[in-house]
């Protein structure tokens, strides 16, 4: 990896014109504890990037390195051709919205928002108008003279946002800013925050452990696992084409199928389908909604013609109502257990096996990485895959 780091570092000034931030082989150790290893990431101007990960994945540490509150053990961070990670936090054109807002309790809302401008010694008239503008943008003008302790959590959240945005940073960092809000307010803020980001055009790096939140808000998601980047992609791509079993399981539900691939066919008894994966043992992710009840026209059963639509029979074991959809657990003839998401409806409560199908293309080959922090292989450890 050192060679990559060097070659990237060599190109210091002349970056891609749309690239705002360049994280190059950043690692962070706390004593023997490796929190981040070899993180490289390019963030484009105006992008909404979410760093998604479980607690302990290192996402907050990465954010703190960008803000300047932690020093990376190795690696570099560049912003628009300038080295960022060697600068103290107060010289970076980066602002942060803290997890618990960290408003100054001894100042009014107005003074909180104007703090950065006052420090920068902007003229009083400018401070006043920009603070008023920022408060209006987050719909908090009425509370300008209040103390932070007198307003609700959601309102404090807005003030923290205004306090950061009023300085017109190049980059805004948000450290799980919505985690303290209740579910309804949270959904509302997700929409508002996304709209605000579009409006101000500032690059956002948003840290969260909530995969749904990440999918709703982001242009791209960077999934962190145990201090390493698992996958960086758009929400659709990361959901539809997960690169690893961890990604597939962490983002949404999935069926992990362990298959034997021989001559372009994956065998996972009783299923088999066409694949371009080279011969050997491989893992596939098959989303529950990709499996559907088979259409009426009966295909020739037992045909070895290797169809692109895979059909199988299975017994219904369990049905859970989830509003618009139902989650079914079915057991196929060979004892393979699969989770299936279908439109909500009552299924015939009979002992007779049901017929299901899925497209071979929906079985996405994934690299095996484990869920959770231990690095043991998932192969054979999941009840859904029966070798």
């Amino acid at each position: 990896m050192a060679t990559i780091a060097e070659s990237v570092a060599g190109s210091g000034g002349e970056l891609n014109s749309t690239s705002l931030l360049s994280i190059r082989s950043v690692a962070k150790h706390f004593g023997k504890n490796v929190v981040l290893r070899d993180i490289s990431l390019e963030i484009t101007e105006g992008e909404f990037l979410t760093i998604l990960g479980e607690s302990g994945s290192g996402k907050t540490t990465l954010l703190r390195i960008l803000a300047g509150f932690e020093q990376s053990t190795s690696g570099e961070v560049w912003m628009q051709g300038e080295r960022l990670d060697t600068q103290p936090p107060y010289r970076r054109r980066v602002n942060t919205v803290f997890q618990h807002y960290a408003l100054f309790p001894h100042m009014t809302v107005e003074q909180n928002v104007g703090y950065g401008l006052a420090i920068a010694k902007r003229p009083a008239a400018e401070v006043e108008s920009r603070v008023a503008e920022a408060l209006a943008k987050v719909k908090m003008s009425a509370y300008a003279k209040s103390k932070p302790s007198k307003i609700s959590g959601g309102q404090q959240q807005r003030i923290a946002l205004a306090r950061a945005l009023v300085n017109r940073p190049r980059l805004l960092l948000l450290d799980e800013p919505l985690s303290a809000l209740d579910a309804n307010l949270r959904r509302q803020m997700q929409v508002e925050l996304k709209a605000l980001q579009r409006e101000v055009g500032i690059t956002f790096i948003f840290v969260t452990h909530d995969q749904e939140e990440a999918m709703v808000m982001s242009d791209r998601i960077a999934l962190l696992r145990s201090g390493e980047l698992e996958q960086v992609a758009t929400p659709r791509e990361i959901y539809n084409r997960p690169a690893t079993s961890y990604t597939a399981q962490f983002i949404g539900h999935t069926n992990l199928l362990k298959a034997d691939v021989r001559h372009g066919t994956a065998y996972c008894p009783p299923l088999q389908w066409l694949t371009s994966v080279p011969d050997g043992v491989a893992l596939f992710s098959l989303r529950p909604e990709c499996i559907r009840p088979a259409s009426a026209s009966p295909a020739a059963t037992g045909s070895p013609a290797l169809p692109t639509t895979v059909r199988f029979r299975a017994h219904l074991r369990d049905q859970a109502f989830h509003g618009a959809t139902d989650l079914l657990r079915v057991e196929s003839d060979g004892g393979l257990i699969l989770t299936i998401r279908t439109a909500s409806r009552d299924l015939p409560n009979s002992e007779a096996p049901l017929e299901f199908e899925f497209s071979a293309a929906d079985a996405v080959p994934v690299r095996a990485t484990s869920l959770g922090s231990n690095s043991e292989s998932i192969l054979g450890s999941n009840e859904e895959d029966r070798a």
């Binding site: 107060y90 602002n95 997890q99 618990h100 960290a102 100054f104 420090i119 300085n167 799980e176």
Partner: protein, 277 residues
């Protein structure tokens, strides 16, 4: 004890509480009463109430000299203790250095150590260093002994401070120095005022250390102590009453500061939350 049965308030418990209360405050009440007693310190109940002792007191130059000396010593000791104590507390809270755990315990030692030991050792030090004993030596004695009070009080305040606030300040462009004065100090204001008041009071009535370091000028406690050896007069009661009143005012002042501050939310709870991430 079942919650449904009404608890009979035991009479003896009330009586006991009253007794404790009396034990604590009766001496002070008597001290105050006798400062108005025309008969001097003897006789019960006090008779011929008079302000005479106060009149004598106000014309008693040596007493007022000693009061001034005490105020000077207390103010100077307070400055010294805060000047050294606040950076020590900051170091304990923020810096990592070898022997930090030891330092943290040792800094408390002067507070626990009997005043005699502190006083004696300082007096020997000054003798070796050939420093003439004066108010200055008392100031140095009080100042050094009370650094521990400043350190512990301010350290406690720092522990309750939400560090994210300081990070937010740095994030918004303030340097470390600006952050210290605009965010850290205002948040520590109560701890610093509390430490200052405590140091001032402790210095005002300190007798053991002062005894070893005294030069020609007396502090108030030593002046009173010296007079008591010649026999008590209600004049002492009068000066004690005045001291008591001033202490009371200081306590009320401190208490009001504190309750006003507690209206703002507990930043400690937020700190715990932040620490968990």
């Amino acid at each position: 004890m079942s919650a449904t049965t009404p608890i009979k308030s035991p009479r003896w418990l009330t009586a006991h509480a009253l007794a404790v209360f009396a034990f604590l405050y009766l001496p002070i009440v008597i001290l105050i009463l006798y400062s108005f007693n025309g008969q001097g310190v003897g006789g019960f109940p006090p008779r011929n109430l008079t302000f005479n002792w106060y009149r004598i007191l106000f014309n008693d130059a040596p007493i007022w000299d000693s009061v001034l000396n005490s105020l000077l010593v207390a103010a100077a000791a307070m400055l010294i203790a805060l000047l050294f104590g606040i950076p020590a507390a900051l170091a304990l809270d923020r810096a990592q250095f070898p022997g930090k755990a030891l330092f943290r315990r040792l800094v408390l030692l002067p507070l626990i150590l009997p005043g005699i030991i502190t006083g004696l050792s300082l007096s020997m030090l000054f003798r070796v260093a050939e420093v003439k004993l004066s108010l200055l030596t008392i100031i140095l004695g009080h100042g050094t002994a009370l650094i521990s009070v400043a350190t512990t009080e301010v350290f406690a305040g720092l522990q309750k401070l939400n560090r994210a606030q300081e990070e937010a300040s740095l994030d918004l462009g303030a340097t470390y120095c600006q952050t210290f004065w605009r965010i850290t100090v205002p948040n520590l204001k109560l701890s610093i005022i509390g430490a200052a008041l405590l140091i001032f009071t402790l210095s005002m009535d300190e007798i053991a250390v002062s005894f070893f370091l005294i030069g020609r000028d007396n502090t108030l406690p030593l002046e009173i102590w010296g007079r008591l050896r010649r026999g008590i007069t209600p004049e002492i009661n009068a000066i004690s009453t005045i001291i008591f009143l001033f202490s009371l005012i200081a306590i009320v002042f401190w208490y009001r500061l504190r309750t006003r501050a507690e209206v703002t939310p507990e930043i400690g709870a937020e700190l715990v939350e932040t620490a968990k991430h």
